[in-house]
């Protein structure tokens, strides 16, 4: 591409102004963490534990959970891995809202009151903040989450215009953390509902110009537990840590079912 070479070479030296000094030292503050505990090996019912911790300006809810686990109570149990919002392990209910613990900075919450942390809703709780994810992945698998293309593959890549690629970009960002599905009031009362995440992943293929099985997926989602259960409460869009317009994606799938007149 000829555009490749037209680039302005940045200046060798610039005046940085204040950005060379950075902000001052990181401030510390006290925060109370209130976690809903559950461990059938220890007690039949769930209970709440509270800890007051000294934390710092760049700390996230995950750091507070780690501080408890590593320094106070090793039995506090939660999933986490990448710790920067890309693996989707640590979706939890923080102050009543579904979020990733590793992407929620403590300083952005109201630290004058205890920060409540609970497991996400609608999936069976196993221990503390860990839920059984299997029903969630079961719904995901049912929408056939893989490219289906029946024409013979070319030797090089299948072509796709940048516009066609852009059409489904938003829904490719999903990390399957279940924050959306477990924020959905319909899913809370009807565990059979596919839920937003499965629909988002169906959307990702339905609107991919390379895919041939859009109609099959639309048929699956036209089921009584499919898209029509969505009541457009936007909880899912608010909950998505990847900023996917989940409700919009669901609406587009609904429209596709109607216009492709199944």
């Amino acid at each position: 591409m000829s555009t490749a070479t037209v680039e302005n070479e940045p200046a060798s030296t610039v005046d940085l102004g204040e950005s060379g000094d950075g902000a001052g030292a990181i401030e510390s503050f006290e925060v109370t963490l209130k976690v809903r505990r559950y461990d059938p090996e220890r007690a039949e019912d769930a209970w709440w534990d509270e800890w007051t911790l000294t934390m710092y300006g760049t700390d996230r809810v995950l750091d507070a959970l780690h501080k408890v686990k590593w320094e106070i109570d090793g039995s506090l149990t939660f999933r986490r891995s990448c710790a920067h919002g890309i693996c989707g392990s640590d979706a939890m209910r923080i102050n009543g809202r579904n979020r990733l613990a590793c992407k929620t900075l403590l300083k952005d919450l109201d630290t004058s009151k205890p920060i409540t942390v609970e497991a996400i809703k609608g999936l069976p709780i196993e221990k503390d903040l860990i839920v059984d994810m299997e029903p969630f992945f079961q719904s995901y698998r049912e929408i056939m989450p893989f490219l289906i293309n029946n024409s013979p593959a070319p030797t090089a890549e299948r072509l796709q215009s940048p516009e066609d690629r852009e059409r489904f970009d938003d829904t490719t960002k999903c990390i399957l953390c279940a924050a959306c599905t477990s924020s959905c009031p319909v899913f809370w009362t009807d565990g059979q509902y596919f839920g937003p995440a499965a629909i988002v992943n169906a959307h990702r293929f339905i609107f991919d110009s390379r895919d041939d099985a859009g109609d099959m997926r639309l048929e699956v989602l036209n089921d009584k537990e499919g898209v029509w259960r969505c009541r457009t409460t936007f909880n899912c869009t608010d909950a998505c840590p990847r900023g996917i317009e989940v409700t919009k994606a669901i609406q587009e799938v609904k429209t596709a079912i109607i216009t492709r007149s199944l």
Partner: protein, 595 residues
């Protein structure tokens, strides 16, 4: 305790494990054991791209890619393996596209390509557009696409099963020249089901290790909490050597103080580094390709700027990644995730402010030695039949002493695929090796000991001290003095490890217990890494010795091979045997490495 039987068992479900599973699952009865859910694997955190000489946007060929890989690795690369990787890169990218991966596209609809550190046109003449990418979430797309295809092919996963031991047997055998030796054979693995706390033995004809790296040895790292060197440590305990463990890559642009990765794509798209004087300092260190020099060189240059007093911030301990001369629309289109990281975690707006960055532990070049068929070696040439490794856990060695950006996403796809095919083919023609008596004993005893221990030490404290000492002494600048300091500390921590207490005494979802097991892996691997670093009295790639600042091909153009051996002693450490392995050369003679 349950015993399962599969033709092929794959340990790990990141890119390499799932790429292997897609091949193996179609040829033989395959189980994938993973300590996470597959989509949680750290392949998903890779950002910038996957290089292949598709030549979609400018002239390129795989031979140039091979050369860049060899030079980037400071000539410690096995050139036969680099050739395989660069050649098969093209099909690896096309395979992924056909599986559905949503690559960014050129106006003509082909896979778009961009620049990346160390990847050049015609043997170093200028930067070349070789990295195929999907915004700055290429790893995410690879992980999702591979998982999608595992679902398509009904791959059988055992999620949250921690593999804690490799079951091997030894047979008396004779080499061609008549020398007797012990031939290892693989019989299966011992695993621990997180949900129930039960032990499951998987008997298998083939075992593929694809369990990733060990970044959590360091405090500042781009790696996930779960990257604790399990696969390497398990193989090492089972008598498999580890190769080139002193070579760790520190990625230049981790978010300062946090270590979260900001892709090299930021510089591939035109971003540059500046010191406190506003100077684009890479012009001094790598006059030709400047900010797109390989990672070891950029990371060292950054650390040197800080050391010489030109760092930024209140403690003058970082430099700046400047994107402010790029158009915001360009940033949004090509680098959406990493700019969001800067906003979320540091409150910095990359459109208008430079982003504080400092090198972060990113990648282990070393690992379990393999050949180009992904077969694991028990010494310099003897293959362990049925045992395979691919991806970061392995050392094939395509990265030598410094990996080029994008070559790990390539490595997992090329050698993951090979491991899957060869493991399945081997299993089709082999019998199960009979399980030895009570193969779970080691794991059961170890877990029981950790559960029952009533010492006063805490896992969190020991791990934090390990990470502190490794950051302080084993980062981009090393010397005999610092390495010995780290080694002494590791010895002390290993001693204290025997006095730990695990608070959670339950059976279900006992992550407290598993963190204790993982700490054991980290300590073992830190020791191997430091001993290997002490032995290598030269500077090469990611390993820089201030007391030996030059590369010394005469004495050290060799792979390090470290064995667990109670009888042996290396660098004053009892229990480690040191050996070397020749580097494979095909077409490139070592040259001075300048950019």
């Amino acid at each position: 305790m349950q015993v399962h039987k599969y033709d092929v068992v794959i340990v790990g479900a990141g890119g390499a494990g799932m790429r292997a599973a897609i091949e193996s699952g179609q040829r033989a009865r395959t189980a994938v054991l993973t300590k996470l859910y597959p989509t949680r694997s750290h392949t998903g955190a890779a950002q910038g791209g996957m290089c292949a000489a598709l030549a979609n946007v400018e002239e390129d060929n795989w031979e140039w890619h091979t050369f860049d890989t060899v030079k980037g690795g400071d000539y410690l690369v096995d050139q036969d393996a680099a050739e395989v990787m660069a050649k098969e890169a093209i099909d690896a990218v096309l395979d992924l596209e056909k599986m559905g991966l949503p690559f960014n596209r050129t106006p003509e609809g082909k896979i778009d390509q961009r620049r990346f550190g160390g990847h050049t046109r015609d043997h170093g003449k200028a930067a070349v557009r070789r990295a195929c990418y999907a915004a700055d979430r290429t790893g995410h797309m690879i992980l999702q696409t591979l998982y999608q295809n595992c679902v398509k092919h009904n791959v059988e996963f055992f999620n949250e099963y921690y593999v804690l031991d490799l079951i091997t047997v030894e047979e008396d055998a004779t080499k061609e020249d008549g020398t007797p030796y012990k031939q290892k054979r693989v019989a299966g693995v011992v695993s621990y089901d997180l949900a129930s706390g039960e032990i499951h033995i998987f008997q298998a004809k083939s075992v593929v290790f694809a369990s990733g790296g060990l970044g959590k040895i360091f405090k500042t790292t781009s790696n996930a909490h779960t990257l604790t060197g399990d696969g390497m440590a398990i193989a090492y305990r089972a008598g498999i050597p580890l190769e080139d463990m002193e070579f760790v890559q520190f990625h230049p642009t981790g978010l300062a103080g946090l270590g979260i990765l900001l892709s090299e794509a930021a510089r591939g798209e035109g971003g540059i580094l500046r010191n406190s004087e506003g100077e684009r300092f890479m012009e001094r260190y790598a006059p030709t390709i400047k900010d797109l020099a390989p990672r070891d060189i950029v990371a060292r240059s950054m650390a040197n700027e800080v050391r010489e007093g030109r760092g930024c911030g209140p403690n003058k301990d970082y430099v700046l990644l400047d994107l402010t001369h790029l158009e915001p629309e360009h940033i949004d289109a090509k680098l959406p995730d990493i700019t969001e990281f800067a906003r979320t975690y540091l409150g910095v707006e990359p459109y208008t402010e430079p982003v504080p960055v400092f090198p972060t532990c990113h990648y282990a070049m070393g690992g379990i030695p393999t050949n180009i068929k992904a077969e694991v070696l028990q010494d310099n040439e003897t293959v362990v039949p049925g045992l395979y490794a691919a991806g970061e856990v392995a050392c094939v060695s395509v990265h030598g002493s410094n990996r080029l950006g994008t070559n790990s996403l390539l490595d997992i796809n090329v050698f993951g695929k090979r491991a899957g095919i060869y493991a399945a083919e081997y299993a089709q023609g082999a019998e199960f090796v009979e399980l030895p008596e009570a193969p779970e004993t080691f794991v059961v005893d170890q877990l029981q000991m950790l559960r029952d221990a009533t010492g006063s030490e805490r896992v969190g404290a020991i791990r934090a001290e390990l990470q502190e000492t490794m950051d302080a002494n084993m980062q981009v600048f090393r010397s005999e003095e610092t390495i010995k300091e780290a080694l002494a500390k590791i010895g002390e921590l290993k001693e204290r490890y025997t006095q730990i207490t695990v608070q959670d005494k339950g059976r279900r979802f006992n992550l407290d217990l598993l963190e204790a097991v993982e700490l054991g892996f980290l300590l073992d691997m830190a020791e191997v890494m430091t001993v290997s670093a002490l032995h290598r009295q030269e500077s090469r790639g990611g390993h820089y010795r201030e007391d030996f600042p030059d590369r010394d091909d005469e004495n050290f153009m060799l792979h390090s091979m470290l064995y667990k051996d109670p009888e042996a002693e290396t660098e004053g450490i009892q229990g480690i045997r040191f050996d070397t392995k020749p580097v494979v050369f095909t077409r490139y003679e070592p040259m001075e490495r300048k950019y």
